[in-house]
Subunit: 263 residues, 3 copies
């Protein structure tokens, strides 16, 4: 494991990549602020009339099905395919993909469009991989470890790096794998932080290989979460402190505090 | 008045109910954070392609017409009817229902779909009840007391519990009624807190009768507001502190600080 | 230069104008909170089924194309024309107008509908004026000074007051012009603050002439930003403190700290 998350953070910040996000309504504001805080340049561009055209100027794309509808789904497909055609990275966030027929169908079609990275909780990765996991809304009831085999299989089948996030994250490209033991129990008590992390993964993919980028992004987010928890009095002040911590995170802090191990 | 709001808070938290919210774009993020903070499990699922199907797994539903359009209105109707058919609670938030013909029509159709609870400010309850109230945007210009008779009438006609929120809240099922004298003047200076409260009412309805649930939810929200105001320097820090306070609220604090009286 | 921003702030607050906003999904919540904090009454009403009707009761309108689509574009046009027909002010925020064909077309059509004020960053004003500026997403890469000539030309051609915001803002009606040297470097690190400022300009236009209103609104926002920066530890706590500062801003503070000069 030669991953140097601090180096990847520094490279990402130097590039300040333009990241297009087709995300859900709950996440849009916090995701844009997370991306600005860590040093990327977010653009929330999802209308079908312009999503694929905008993909021509974006350097990475994140696609999140949290509040999609058929029209948005079409824009997601078109933008994802535009990124693929240009050899640019895009990251799939299959929110609650097991919950409804519409989500299962949209998730399957996006999976067929060759995402660079897939990030979800254990339930979502199990559902996307075709395992019969409990798909109760957007909560992760499955521990990450129960989804590791499904993640490896999904990575091999799709060619994507697959990240299962939870108390300890698991990342695999189907061959190598890593666990990231950063983060804080307050993180799932704030809405849309997982969604926001997906955008961070997309940003890191502009200047690093998908596997290294994903590991570094997860470590950076988790270390910032630990920092944020120090002075937080609850999920409200935690959310504010997380933005401050992402802004203040240095490559040195990240390398010192990252707990990344091969899996 | 035998209402024990602390007990209802404890029961709701134990159930951690999955609450589906078809709400407005302004409220989505803060409403999800409010529901997480108080201990429920929110899901913002509104697309017509899946709203009624998702209602099959949700334990309660809130419907808010703040930024609806005809397509969303159809999804609201379908989800509300699905909840009704399954005997599960749903709560109507008729934002600015008197302001436009579209809202009046949608509000009337949702009212005909038998909501379990209706929560609005005085203007909204007066407008929904058919009184000629000033419908200036989403602000409450009418004092709560002026809407009490309309609320009783609306409750009797619709079979719903009706809550009129303001400086002192009024709740009635058409027979019994209560006033809740909690809250803080900063609350209407933060957008979407009333919308968020509607989701909290829906969560409490999963484990308590509609009248008791509504009274307890309003008391809990108001007590948290009082707590939040202690250290706030303005509406920005107040909003953050409110999320912390909802998270930190205990049944004992709630029972001690709730100011509920029969009306 | 006889501009008295404090006086205009006091007049706006006394009127507490109902400002309709057809804005993007990222900005809706923070924009509503900004408008409440400074003393206006925001309403986020954009559905085509009611946008023009609601314009009949609103006192000012802001239109922001940040996440528009063709249906929203139609609602924007109808609401803007309704405001114009009633002689009420409306403000255009041409977010990333140079980025896609859809935005260029919608921006041009809105420009033809006679906005009272146009507020953008240098890239956006250059693009709207027909200059060939870099239209990379929503970031302002062009310094304000490079857009001054385009702003004067755009003001003369359209009849609108044009505001170019950046480190030092520039405002012109095509004849007179002013520079406002307030604000803080943290402001562009929080998403949707420029969008929110556009709503503040709309609010000030209800009780002051467009040029004076725009200058006063920009000064008020910038002074609040300076105040917010005093205790902020990063963009998260800055955003919270900005809402507090807008709420706490007094006319006296504004007059004392405003740095407005003729240009």
């Amino acid at each position: 494991m030669t991953n140097k998350p601090g180096l990847h953070l520094a490279h990402m910040r130097e590039a300040a990549p333009l990241v297009q996000n087709i995300t859900n309504f709950v996440a849009m504001n916090v995701m844009a602020n997370v991306l600005l805080a860590i040093g990327a340049s977010p653009a929330m561009v999802h209308a079908r009339a312009e999503a694929a055209e905008f993909a021509g100027i974006a350097q990475a794309l994140s696609v999140n099905i949290g509040t999609a509808d058929p029209e948005w789904g079409a824009a997601m497909m078109e933008a994802a395919q535009a990124m693929g055609a240009q050899g640019k990275p895009w990251v799939l966030d299959p929110v609650a993909v097991g919950a409804t027929a519409f989500r299962r169908d949209l998730g399957a079609r996006l999976l067929d469009s060759a995402p660079t990275v897939i990030r979800g909780n254990a339930s979502e990765i199990l559902a996307l991989a075709g395992s019969d996991a409990a798909g109760r809304g957007v909560d992760a009831d499955d521990p990450v470890s129960a989804a590791e085999a499904a993640a490896r299989h999904l990575a091999q089948r799709s060619g994507a790096v697959v990240a299962v996030t939870g108390p300890v994250d698991f990342v695999t490209d189907g061959e190598q794998a890593a666990r990231i033991a950063n983060g804080h129990a307050m993180m799932p008590r704030v809405t849309a932080l997982g969604c926001s992390l997906t955008g961070v993964v997309a940003a890191f993919c502009v200047t690093a290989s998908p596997f290294d980028a994903t590991v570094a992004a997860l470590a950076a987010f988790g270390v910032a979460g630990e920092q944020a928890a120090l002075g937080a009095r609850g999920p409200g002040s935690f959310a504010v402190a997380l933005i401050d911590a992402l802004h203040g995170l240095t490559p040195e802090m990240l390398d010192r505090q990252a707990r990344v191990a091969p899996a």
